[in-house]
Symmetry: C2
Subunit: 321 residues, 2 copies
């Protein structure tokens, strides 16, 4: 069953005992949506928690507050936010895969695994949908409380690279204006996520640039961060957050691939493209998916094997395959 954001809010008002799920390798959108929804539900008198996510980096530590669910919490109603498919459920969310009462998401590739699905794929961030839902949940307030607005600002800003990515829409800005008008410290969010880089991060970026492969007359760049790079530079997971944006910025590059060796024999690939190549089509050839301009997949092999596989997939799609 497909619900509008308003219908989703009405459903949320009708139940209680909420557990909110985030996706594997969580980003600001999934965490921000989960925390905001949890707090909005509590404002209406409901019991609500967010399922802890072991993959979450320290970058998001300031946002969780008291929302993580205690170990013994038994939910009545499970809600997922920003999760496109069951394969993106974290380990500890697997017991709930058949119990998602409401799936809220913005990915075009959403599988509709919820008993109810509120999917708006025209939204740059899932946070834009949650903004509407929280506004309905908490009306007739004049504006959202800051404890709800701040995580929503995190969601909307991080999923658009602070309003710079091509997925940004007028609605993204309208929502940002409304969230900022509540007086939240958006400057701290911007500083933390978009204007702060560690020395380690800067050195990682340099190494990526120095070692990347260029193809198609410089229009395709394939960069990689190996386990060895991570070890040599003493890099932590927080140092590689959104590192896929680095390669795409090089002048003349139209297809930017960033490969991360997650463990020996397993590489995660991020593909960002311009309008002349569909990133989702490329990644689907390797079992992945995503958006037209930004998609991802996993290759089970070495960094060299991942490089060869993605180049082959790009060439095939470019050739109309």
């Amino acid at each position: 069953m497909n619900l509008t954001a308003q219908e989703a809010a009405a459903f949320l008002q009708s139940r209680d005992g909420y557990l909110i799920l985030t996706h594997r390798r969580p980003d600001g959108d999934t965490i921000g949506c989960a925390v905001a929804l949890c707090r909005a539900l509590r404002q209406t008198g409901k019991t609500a928690f967010v399922l802890p996510n072991a993959d979450a980096t320290v970058l998001f530590d300031p946002y969780w507050g008291d929302t993580p669910a205690p170990r013994d919490f038994i939910p009545e109603t499970v809600v997922s936010v920003d999760i496109a498919s069951l394969s993106l459920f974290p380990e500890n969310a697997l017991p709930y895969r058949d119990q998602v009462e409401l799936c809220i998401d913005h990915h075009p590739s959403n599988e509709g695994f919820g008993k109810r699905n509120c999917v708006e794929s025209d939204k740059a961030a899932c946070g834009e949908i949650l903004y509407t839902i929280c506004t309905h949940l908490l009306s007739p307030r004049e504006s959202l409380p800051q404890e709800v607005a701040l995580p929503l600002y995190l969601a909307v800003s991080t999923d658009t690279g602070c309003f710079v990515y091509s997925n940004t829409t007028p609605n993204t800005h309208t929502v940002a204006a409304a969230l900022m008008a509540t007086g939240v410290d958006f400057r701290a969010v911007n500083k933390r996520h978009f204007r702060t880089k560690s020395y380690v991060r800067l050195r990682l970026e340099s190494r990526m640039i120095e070692t990347m492969d260029l193809h198609h007359n410089g229009q395709t760049a394939i960069a990689a961060i190996s386990l060895e790079d991570m070890a040599q530079l003493h890099a932590a997971e927080a140092d590689v957050e959104d590192i896929a944006a680095v390669v795409g910025q090089l002048e003349g590059v139209r297809t930017a691939v960033t490969i991360r060796e997650l463990k020996p024999g397993e590489c995660k690939l991020s593909v960002r493209t311009q309008a002349d190549l569909n990133a989702s089509a490329v990644c689907k050839r390797l079992g992945g998916g995503g958006h037209a301009a930004a998609a991802g997949c996993t290759v089970y092999g070495s960094v060299a094997e991942a490089k060869a596989a993605i180049l082959d997939a790009i060439n095939t799609v470019k050739a109309g395959g």
Copy 2:
């Protein structure tokens, strides 16, 4: 005489023969405002031109169109946009210093040199003021034409680092939403100004990071780009656009100074600070000025002398001087 944006629009409707001035070392805000105003005035049937600016980099080439004034144009009405003081007039604008009929600006330090001044210092970008003026000029249109909206998007986005700087307000986002809703290619602007870096630029950034001085327990960073750096890396002016943002991003840095040696014995300094230090107060000690979080000044001396002078100014202001 101080005018509101609406009064400024009424004044602009009452005159003709416009020449619009931009500031020295022009940025996206002054160029975007000038081009947008020129086109809006032409839409209302007025004659309008922008005074060419010899300092303008190739980065802004796509925006000028047919707005630059021919050499023999004799203006009836001179308007300045985003110019805080007469000292920021480009060489070819000096003949008009006593003839500015309307000065439109958002700098708190604006000297009020116009016969009429429309200064709104709560605006992050002068483009936000021009948005209001152009809307009044062109009403009762439903929305601005794209040829006006695109340079205004350039103005608003570049002066806020694409909505990431601390000067960004809800109004900035509201204006951006309205401009984007006209259907302009904001993605091309974002790509060009915020998501593209040349190899030369990346190498300049690395050199700045490698050679910078840290003070105050790592909270103050002073970086420099010398004429020698520029020559060695074959860097052009476009490669250093907004390079002051680089140093401030380093984790733990609260006061970021970027020094550019413009010619032997002349350095331009950019100072960016957090709330605990007023950048404008620091720069005023060296004859400059600006905003509380971002200001600038010129030091006549070597890079080493500029470093010593700004460190002294920072220490004095920190000590309450």
